[in-house]
Amino acid sequence: MADIAHSLKIKYGLLNPPPEDKIKLWVEKTESFISGGISADEAGERAAQEVFLDYQKIIYEAQADTILALLAQAKNK
């Protein structure tokens, strides 16, 4: 679950990795949007907007910066 939380954080620009209950809610909403005929990407985006209060608070645009920040943490582990 930690892996998904981290991926969601990066993908939807969240401040922190979302807790488990929020992730479950996001999955449910995404599936519901998909069954309503919306594409998977858009469904995930819409669900994230509704479920995560910190949606798009941070834009992780520069992949390199995130990679470096994580690598620095790994180095100090």
């Binding site: 892996d3 520069a62 390199a64 790994a74």
Partner: protein, 166 residues
């Protein structure tokens, strides 16, 4: 054959030729459009794959960082393999750019800034960190940053630098 008949036949032939040329011209426009769409499509697909590999890479590093207790050899090699996969996709994008299979707008706005960061930050950071972790944990790891392994990325990077200085 009378003069009028010849003129009429000539007009028909000229019309047919003009029609043919016009249709060729129309085809060329359509083909150009298709070509442009194909280049754009290449860019989108490669970007989307890069995003996936980026997710895999950052997830592996995060897993290592968040691990309760000491990370093991598998955790270390997860970073190494997902990192290699990410940089391999960067290399593929640059191969497409260099072979003229990418649209100019996507190259300039999307890919070049990423490749510049890869050369300036991610690649040296990646190899430097893996070497330090390996040394600290006595892991046999011989990876070093060799320019020839990322030739196309450096080529694209140099082109970008030249463009910046114009």
């Amino acid at each position: 054959m009378s003069k009028e008949t010849l003129i009429l036949a000539g007009t028909h032939v000229a019309a047919a030729i003009i029609g043919f040329l016009f249709s060729r011209l129309t085809m060329t426009c359509k083909e150009r459009k298709d070509h442009q769409a194909r280049l754009q499509d290449n860019s989108n697909k490669l970007s989307s794959e890069l995003d996936k590999r980026y997710q895999g890479f950052t997830t592996a590093i995060n897993k290592y960082v968040q691990k309760g207790g000491e990370p093991n050899l598998d955790d270390f090699y997860d970073i190494a393999t997902t990192g290699d996969s990410y940089f391999s996709q960067c290399r593929m994008i640059c191969d497409y750019i260099l072979s003229g299979n990418m649209d100019e707008k996507s190259i300039k706005n999307t890919h070049l800034p990423v490749m510049k960061d890869v050369i300036d930050k991610s690649l040296p950071g990646y190899y430097g960190t893996l070497q330090k972790i390996a040394k600290k944990r006595n892991i046999p790891y011989g990876g070093i940053l060799k320019r020839e392994n990322y030739k196309s990325i450096y080529e694209v990077y140099n082109k970008y630098k030249l463009g910046e200085n114009k």
